[in-house]
Amino acid sequence: MLLISCPYCGVERPEIEFRHAGEAHIARPAEPSKLTDEEWAEYLYMRTNPKGLMAERWRHTHGCGRFFNAIRDTVSDKFVTVYKMGEAKPDLDQLLVEAAQ
């Protein structure tokens, strides 16, 4: 079973306690009424979908209940790091360099 660590609880827990909640760091436009349909569709539906490291929102649903962010490798399913809401997105290129070392 995949273990995921929660930055709020500070422990690793089985993945069944968690829910995936889409790509992280997507800011809702401040004034949706001023956007074109294409811009709104871009915000609603278009996602990075990379092969490799991705910043995602996760929620510790059956634990502390908190949303947090995680960097996960979409190829290996490995969680590289997790961080609390509001904290800056790590530099993915830097993480790749560190992972290679």
Partner: protein, 188 residues
């Protein structure tokens, strides 16, 4: 941890499981409040109920009349032994009057089981995928987690004593799975 706990077996009910190695009993009714809010709310509520609410993740503070369980960074479960739920609720609500918070009486939402005995952790591990070694799950630790598919709150009251709280509609499912695991334990 006090020998006497806010949780005591309901004397009117027969034990759910009673073997030489593990015992499961339904807990007597209790007052339960769900508190959401910041550290200021926690501090005021603590003064009102008589224990300081735990701020460290996964920890609890308990006397034989009150237990406060950390469930999340802004969420606590307060379990209280008292005859007058309404007066107790008013007391906490009054203490929190000037502090942003949410306080909900959830006394009847949950039922609680007391699981004790040498094989208590073994029994729980039939459905709970946590490591109950005392280094990783010490006495006093509390967590929300899954028991099979039912969400529970799990507290280690003493080395060989655990308390499960679950929504009452989930409790027959939890109880029957515990009984099934205990039959396996007896057969082993």
């Amino acid at each position: 941890m006090p020998e006497k706990s806010v949780y005591s077996a309901n004397a009117d009910l027969a034990p759910i499981i009673a073997t030489s190695r593990v015992r499961v009993a339904e807990a007597a009714p209790l007052i339960r409040f769900s508190l959401r809010g910041g550290e200021a709310a926690a501090s005021h509520a603590g003064t009102a109920v008589g224990v300081s609410l735990p701020l460290e993740p996964l920890t609890s503070i308990a006397t034989d009349k009150v237990a406060a369980f950390w469930l999340g960074p802004d969420e606590w479960n307060l379990v209280i032994q008292d005859d007058d739920a309404r007066a107790m609720f008013e007391r906490v609500e009054t203490a929190l009057a000037d502090t942003p918070h949410s306080l909900v009486d959830v006394s009847d939402r949950n039922r609680a089981l007391i699981i004790s005995g040498r094989k208590a952790a073994w029994l729980l591990n039939s459905q709970v995928f946590l490591d109950f070694d005392e280094a990783s799950f010490p006495v006093g630790m509390v967590t929300r987690t899954l028991f099979g598919k039912a969400e529970i709150m799990l507290w280690r009251q003493a080395e060989d004593t655990f308390v499960i709280e679950a929504w009452r509609s989930f409790m027959p499912y939890v109880i029957e799975l515990l009984q099934e695991a205990s039959r396996e334990l007896e057969a082993a």
